[in-house]
């Protein structure tokens, strides 16, 4: 059995860990509210953008000359996966969930004999992927310096992707991120960006609207598609940051509770061994007195 001193030390160390996790939980909770608000406010923009593009693309008559960003390069040999993760740890299963989802997708691609290229956004994702897929990672991006998520950062990622697409470095682009549902639930998502594919197509296959365009239709599309990619990435980043804080909050809440339980257990153990020591001393005294 551990000595009394050892137990005392452990109890105090668990207690100070608990203080830290508690503080982290509070910070995460405060940040979560902001991040959640931002994520919810950002949704209409990306939704609307997607909708306009869908409306536009459904109206295209000449499919062969449609912009490549919309229709893809016509091949599906090289896949680019953009994995969005956080820059900080201690947020429960947040990063692992994305990575797990991404990994199963990677495996599928590799099994089909296709080429895989990876861009990681956020350092945690890179840390987890570099062991297995180091040769596949072509770029890692991290926004550790920027405090808040801004459109400018997302635009940078978007521009890299478009740049690489125009150099014909890949055919299909998919992004991975966590969608924020509520504090406890975050759903890892995969979303195909190039060629554009919307999950909403089935839900509201609206009758074709005849729009007037100003300027010409293809000019709008050519301008809008790159913007849409940045927008979708921005949305993913917003969702991700809300998810990260939510995930961290729950994780730290659990940690605080576990630490509390541990302190209770250790305290009982401490008291028991203290009592045992006292009893032992008493017995020694009594038996010593009896023998006289």
């Amino acid at each position: 059995m551990a000595s009394l001193d050892d137990l005392k030390k452990r109890i105090s160390s668990v207690k100070s860990t608990q203080k830290i996790t508690k503080a982290m939980k509070m910070v995460a909770a405060a940040k979560l509210r902001r991040a959640q608000e931002n994520a919810e406010k950002g949704r209409p923009y990306s939704k609307k953008m997607n909708k306009i593009i869908l409306n536009l693309s459904s109206g295209i008559s000449d499919k062969d000359n449609a912009p490549k960003l919309l229709m893809g390069s016509g091949d599906d040999k090289v896949h680019l996966c953009v994995v969005l993760t956080s820059d900080r740890g201690l947020c429960g299963g947040f990063n692992s969930n994305i990575i797990r989802k991404a990994k199963s997708y990677f495996q599928k691609i590799l099994n089909e004999g296709k080429t895989l290229k990876i861009i990681t956004v956020g350092s945690k994702g890179y840390d987890q992927l570099k062991r297995l897929y180091n040769n596949n990672i072509i770029e890692k991006i991290s926004f550790k310096e920027s405090k808040n998520i801004n459109y400018f950062d997302a635009d940078k990622v978007g521009k890299t992707i478009i740049d690489r697409f125009q150099k014909k470095e890949f055919d299909i682009c998919t992004i991975f991120y966590n969608q924020f549902k509520n504090v406890i639930t975050q759903i890892p998502q995969e979303q195909q960006l190039i060629p554009l594919q919307s999950s909403e197509t089935k839900e509201d296959s609206l009758p074709k609207d005849n729009y007037e365009f100003e300027p010409e239709e293809d000019e709008i599309l050519n301008n809008l598609l790159p913007k849409n990619i940045s927008t979708q990435i921005f949305k993913a980043m917003l969702e991700n940051s809300a998810s990260e804080q939510g995930s961290r909050m729950t994780a730290m809440d659990n940690a605080t509770r576990n630490a509390g339980e541990m302190v209770d257990k250790l305290t009982i153990q401490y008291n028991r061994s203290r009592q045992a020591a006292i009893t032992k001393e008493l017995i020694e005294i009594i038996s010593g007195a009896e023998s006289l």
Partner: protein
Amino acid sequence: MSEEFKLEIISPEKSFFSKDKVTEVVIPGYEGEMGFLKDHISLISFLKPGIIKVFSKDGEELFFVEDGIAEFKENDLSILTSSIFNLKNKDKNYIEKLIIKSEEELTKENLDDQKRYLINHKIDSLKSIN
């Protein structure tokens, strides 16, 4: 019959401005200023730097945009833009600063004609505010 329609201005960060009942909206369309009234034909247009004017029963409201896209459909006008501010909230100094900044941009080389035109236009419309 009411002569009103719905307007929503959305920026990537949030829904910037939304009003259910507006009577007229004037936007700086790509090929010239455009006014929207109720039952306008469905339309998608780019925006160039300029002023969005919103008229409603409560009066007139002015916004400055740098770029964006407007969609009008079934009496529902949505404007997506990444750079917008309400003129009411900004004073002259802010606008002056913007003008100086864009003038600096003009002096840069490697500008194509289209960009040059857009920046010139931006300066003009900023100056017209004062």
